[in-house]
Assembly symmetry: C2
């Protein structure tokens, strides 16, 4: 069965479905004929954006509300085959200022989803977007799924807590779950309101506005940037494959670029903006994770997936999108 | 400076101070002339017990209340040098039935303590009682502080979350913290109301009541049982030593006994009770951690501590205590 056949008529719930990952996933699923329901609270701090689903608005069900409200969540989970649980507080920087809220949004809601599925014995698969941040400093290792976890922010601590919940509910109650540790995601439909989430998106905006982009240090630290369409493809292939159940899976391109190379590619493609190098500020150094190179062989061997977009191609597609739509994202 | 001199006149807050660890610690600190304040909510599910401090009642300050109430906690933390944060939901079995409450009691309260100290810039050291449970199955390794953590219950997940908070607040804000991963603690002043906490205490009660003690499997699984007086000694030596700040420290006897040997020692010392062997029930097997042997060399080299009580001596002291006091603990 092809992936598009697998998802045809499948009932899919996407929490945080008006955001970056959720809305791109919704577009793809709608094209496969899936029955997509989105729940999103449109919290102005995060990336939820009605414009993200404008072209598919009539082909998805939309619940505007907070998944902390169990009375909303129970009927939605009762009526789906797979839930992509993406609703989250998405900034590791903000997490330090709103510790209890981050706990609620990034850990407690995951427990809510799992508890509802357990209590009502719902046959629902849970796909969760975790982050490379759970690992902390890479110490220049190539990072696979077995390295020790040393989260350096509340955001990362709570993503790790959610991972542990998912693994425990899988082991104890047989709930199918998949945990993706996503590296540095970027692409279309991502908010560009501030620099606290994806620096790729933020720098594209700065270049488009002919601003100066500041690079800390020598800009040679390695990052694995992955274009959103590759991420969505990996989600869909994995969730269609029972061998992925219970697994933690790294999701990156498998190719690391220098930070400075990413910035220079943006400035070149956009055709405006400047670059300036400055020293690392003290408070960033502790949280800076060092070179990040990720081993994606588990994802590849589980699904046959491989990335389709180079960093240059991804930046070009992202820029093309924002050229026509920037005002909706800033 | 001797340990007793170090604690003389020190202002010490003990959350959960009417419980097993907290009250034994309070007794020792009072004997050193420390200024001890206890906060405890006497939740009937846990081990908080006014009888535990009867002999020192006039020499400690007692706040009866819930540490989830920040208005109670702020003045108490503002008026102490060291907080021993022991208030917790203490049963990994119960944690599965009260998931959100376990999250609140075992993770959120730790964040509260740290946030209050951070916000008010209080010069307070935090000592936390974590558990060997954060590690999960030992896979027959000797467990030191660097082994990967794979918690198998919500109790253990939330203890791990608290550990990560403490490490982060130490690294980011310089708050001195010490995290003890305690193995299997037992001893006087521990509640014996049910079998969900310490099996040593529970079995002593059963033997005293001439009941039959059931051993799952062949009873040869290894556990590191540590007597409470040795634990308190390790707490006090470590908290007096700045080199312990920021550290995770295993706290066990360093000697592993067979489960069956522990049971037989109890029956022998108490002089009543029977032993019966049965097969493991299915639901226990997943959570059974396998042989547990713990490396305590870090604690030893940091403090010079070594355990003073063998399992037999500890069981004897515990039994002697309950012989006169059983009715207060069941």
């Amino acid at each position: 069965m092809s992936v598009s056949e697998y998802y045809h008529e499948k009932r899919i719930l996407i929490t945080g479905g008006l955001g970056f990952l959720g809305s791109n996933l919704a577009h793809k699923l709608v094209s496969f004929g899936a029955k997509v329901t989105i729940i999103d609270n449109l919290d102005p701090l995060y990336g939820g954006n009605l414009y993200n689903i404008e072209q598919i608005r009539t082909r998805v069900k939309l619940a505007l509300g907070d998944i902390q409200d169990e009375s909303l969540l129970v009927p939605l989970l009762s009526d789906c085959d797979i839930v992509f649980h993406f609703a989250a507080q998405v900034s590791y920087i903000d997490s330090q200022n709103i510790p209890f809220r981050d706990l609620d949004l990034n850990a407690r809601t995951t427990m809510s989803v799992l508890e509802i599925i357990r209590k009502h014995k719902l046959p629902v698969k849970v796909v969760f977007s975790s982050s490379r941040m759970v690992i902390g400093k890479s110490n220049d290792r190539i990072v696979d799924e077995t390295v020790p976890t040393n989260p350096l922010s509340l955001y990362a601590i709570h993503k790790l807590t959610s991972e542990k919940y998912l693994q425990m509910y899988h082991a104890d109650f047989g709930i199918p779950v998949i945990i993706f540790r996503i590296t540095n995601p970027y692409g279309i439909r991502q908010q560009m309101k501030h620099n606290k989430y994806s620096l790729v998106g933020w720098f594209i905006r700065m270049a488009m506005e002919n601003e100066t982009i500041t690079i800390f240090g020598d800009g040679r630290q390695l990052r694995d940037y992955i274009y959103v369409e590759d991420i969505i493809e990996a989600f869909l292939l994995s969730a269609a494959n029972p061998d992925s159940n219970g697994q933690i899976i790294n999701l990156g391109s498998g190719y690391s670029s220098e930070f400075g190379e990413m910035v220079n590619t943006i400035v070149e493609i956009v055709g405006s903006g400047q670059v300036k190098y400055v020293d690392w500020p003290a408070n960033y150094e502790r949280i800076e994770t060092g070179n990040f190179q990720v081993d994606i062989s588990k994802l590849k061997s589980l699904t046959g997936w491989s990335p389709s977009f180079t960093l240059e191609q991804g930046i070009r597609l992202t820029y093309e999108y924002y050229k026509s739509n920037l005002s909706y994202y800033i």
